[in-house]
């Protein structure tokens, strides 16, 4: 009899151990986390239509952190968001971007990319309008403590963007410091149609810029500030509609060269843009495109070309 009891006790202990291990894992995954607020003003301001945030999905978070830290001077606050590592990039203590560790989907031709977040008052209402105008849902609306409610969609041409109702309000309208986002650009096959789509959702004023080439350039504005441009994709090559965000730099050529020395590559060589400063487009070591833009008070003050 004693022998039988001994044989059952051991498995019972194993059961308890397995249950405790399982409980520990489940608590780790389900542990609540809080994202830093992006607002930064008191009382909170709201600027619907403003580009207020950007997230990078990357398969090598540590490598991405190193690259952007050395290029833009970012530091990081790492958050274990459930089963995901999420690094909030800081500039002078202010949250400027998010870097998300995410494995590349096996068997699919995908690349890392920065996701553009556009401010809204009501994500669910804005999403309904977008879906009614031809957008497709990429991820359902979700609420994150500290951040607010957000959803990811693909516009009618397939360019992926997110909308965010920040619970702390939107960042105030200041000139971006070097290392901060200064501009966003949508490249599309039909810029006029895309501008109409975004106007319906975000209430933009739309301005056509005079053109001296085949390309169409449209400015989207709210609060009397330019928020983004919509531009024709070149007709040649293998193209797809996409959003591209620009970081303010002091010298686009020097930053491009530094990006290459850090393992990145140049996609568009530095050249002068319509505001008189230089811009460039680079890719980080994992292939995510990002824009660089000079902007200084000493740039040539020219009217739009």
């Amino acid at each position: 009899m004693n022998v039988v009891l001994d044989r059952t006790r051991i498995p019972v202990r194993r059961e308890i151990f397995a249950l405790l291990a399982c409980l520990t894992c489940s608590l780790a995954f389900a542990a609540p986390y809080e994202l830093p607020p992006i607002g930064g003003s008191e009382p909170a301001e709201h600027h619907p239509g403003k580009i207020v945030w950007a997230d990078l999905a990357t398969p090598d978070l540590a490598a991405a952190e190193r690259f952007y830290a050395q290029l833009f001077g970012w530091t990081y606050q790492t958050i274990h968001a459930g089963n995901t590592d999420y690094a909030v990039a800081l500039l002078d203590g202010r949250p400027v971007a998010g870097l998300l560790q995410k494995p590349l989907p096996p068997g699919e031709r995908r690349q890392p990319a920065w996701l553009t977040f556009i401010a809204v008052r009501d994500v669910d209402a804005a999403r309904r309008i977008a879906l009614g105008h031809g957008a497709k849902s990429v991820s359902e609306p979700k609420t994150y403590t500290g951040r607010g409610r957000q959803a990811v969609l693909a516009d009618p041409e397939g360019a992926v963007m997110a909308m965010l109702a920040s619970s702390s309000g939107d960042p105030p309208d200041f000139l971006a410091a070097p290392g901060e986002w200064i501009w966003s650009s949508l490249l599309a096959r039909d810029p006029a149609r895309e501008a109409t789509f975004y106007k319906a959702i975000f209430g933009y004023d739309v301005f056509d810029l005079p053109r001296d080439d085949e390309a169409v350039h449209v400015i989207l504005s709210t609060d009397d500030y330019a928020r983004a441009s919509v531009n024709s994709l070149p007709s040649s090559g293998h193209r797809r509609a996409h959003w591209l965000n620009f970081i303010r730099v002091m010298n686009a050529a020097e930053s491009s060269a530094k990006a290459v020395s850090l393992g990145g590559r140049v996609l568009v060589e530095p050249h002068e843009d319509r505001h008189g400063g230089n811009i460039a487009v680079i890719a980080d070591p994992a292939g995510a495109p990002i824009g660089l833009m000079e902007w200084s008070d000493t740039d040539t003050k020219v009217e739009p070309k």
Binding site: A30, I79, P141, V281, P304
Partner: protein, 90 residues
């Protein structure tokens, strides 16, 4: 069937149930176990290709207001800590 294997089956069943329950708790928080803000985009596409005509930036801006011949506004020009909001780059 031995007592030992029956116990392990019960243990496995309980663990599976607990995992499912924990997944439900995780999904219930913020709608996801983890943060889902980032996406991967299709690869193999070209960037640039316009040479010097690749001009996608904001204008310096002109007079504000609507109507015919209105100019597109520019980005904010007041630096942080520069005394209040506003100011348009001219």
């Amino acid at each position: 069937m031995s007592i030992q294997s029956a116990s392990w089956r019960r243990g496995l069943g309980a663990s599976t149930l607990l995992l499912i329950m924990s997944a439900c708790v995780g999904v219930g928080y913020g709608g996801s176990v983890g943060y889902v803000g980032g996406v991967y985009e299709p690869s193999g596409y070209d960037y640039g290709g316009w040479g010097g005509a690749y001009r996608v930036g904001p204008p310096r801006g002109g007079p504000r207001g609507g109507g015919e011949g209105r100019h597109a506004p520019s980005i904010p020009s007041t630096p942080r800590g520069g005394g209040g909001h506003g100011g348009h780059t001219r």
